[in-house]
Symmetry: C2
DNA sequence: TGATGAATTCAACAGATGTTGAAAATTATC
DNA sequence: GATAATTTTCAACATCTGTTGAATTCATCA
């Protein structure tokens, strides 16, 4: 007796439509009717499956968070395993960023929408704090621990601040605002994610080194 | 005959209230009635002074943009003047960031609200591009030119990408999400802007160096 | 087939939204 | 101090908002 239960088909269409629209316009910029229209579904179905609007938003936000967390945790564990428990700074930062790049590069447009949504939430002062904290901070704390262990003499405050700058650089890349395309007059393409992450990692690693390893120097 | 015209008092109250509420909740998260209530003004007055809602938003956004641009340009010119036309990387980055810190630290809460609003716009994919481009990119381009001149052998693409990471780190700091406070369990305070900028500058400078000056090295 | 429960649609609600035109109040001009 | 212009309020509009309960369709299984 296979207890295979096919997922309610329309509820997934709702989640996908909501994901894209919330990513583009934020929570208040999207109406339930617009989501319903995009999903080719009646409005009442949204309440039936997900309850009130905020619950729908949370359902969208949580759907891929666990997958992302697991991928990042695995990357961190692999970095530790492959280095005898002493991963380098590059390895830690790469384990944090490369899984995101991986999901952005899968053909699935849903992942790009979702990550843009994460960027929106992370930049949103009112909405953001609680959702980001509950969904991602447990994992982030594990990376912070790895960073502290890698740089045991670093002032912990500097580790947190450096992480904040890393988080900001990443967030703007996820947001897909297209600004670098215009600023550079087409020379750089925000959609060129290989370049983005290939450069983001050494940029961030150099910043960590400067703040956390050369903290007692007073260089020019 | 002094042609002194005192600014319409209530229109400024509207701008201030709108500034704060838009910064907190974004464009769609704020209703005209809420702004009117906060400004202790009738709703119709918003349309009388600023036209439709989007025009009010633009008026809020543009009000302080020129002041900010002028301060940053002056800082860049001073850095050039004080260095015989060859400002260092630190000087360029500082000229870009320190004026913002300055405005955040004036007692005026309005500036903090405004800069949080800039962060919101910069992270907003639909809204952001046009407004940021028109308001800030002309000035940003001058900084990019200074950076290219400082590092003439650097691949221009890398300069733009490094700027993108700088912009992201700055944006998250402006957004005032309070996330670093919770992540660090109170060890770091996002409101501690001196520390934020004292660390952001060397972090970013180290990243620029790595990407634009050591671009041909293949170090671990 | 017919009964049961889940999924989906229909129709509608009470309230909120952006916007507007006319009236009232305030300020400036002569 | 009367007149004109500007500013502010009042009252209301059509439309849209999130949400709900009843009706309908669909799938499951005895």
């Amino acid at each position: 007796m296979p207890d295979y239960t096919p997922p309610a088909p329309k509820s997934e269409r709702i989640l996908n439509a909501a994901e894209e629209l919330f990513a583009l316009h934020g929570f208040d910029g999207v109406t339930l009717r617009r989501i319903a229209t995009a999903a080719e579904v009646d409005v009442a179905l949204l309440n039936y499956h997900f309850g009130v609007k905020k619950k729908l938003f949370e359902a969208v936000f949580l759907r891929r968070a666990e997958i992302l967390n697991e991928a990042r945790l695995n990357a961190l564990l692999e970095a530790k395993a492959g280095s005898g428990g002493q991963p380098s700074l590059e390895q830690i930062v790469s384990a944090f960023l490369r899984p995101i790049q991986h999901f952005q590069l899968t053909g699935d447009q849903g992942w790009r929408n979702y990550l843009a949504l994460v960027a929106w939430v992370n930049s949103s002062s009112v909405w953001g704090e609680e959702m980001m904290h509950k969904s991602f901070d447990p994992l982030v704390s594990r990376f912070i621990e790895a960073l502290k262990k890698n740089m045991p003499d670093a002032d912990p405050q500097r580790v947190y601040w450096a992480y904040q700058f890393l988080s900001g650089a990443l967030t703007l890349t996820l947001a897909q605002t297209g600004r670098i395309d215009r600023l550079s007059d087409g020379l750089c393409r925000e959609s060129n994610l290989e370049t983005a992450y290939d450069l983001m990692i050494p940029f961030v690693v150099a910043g960590f080194r400067k703040l956390c390893l050369e903290q007692f120097e007073s260089g020019t």
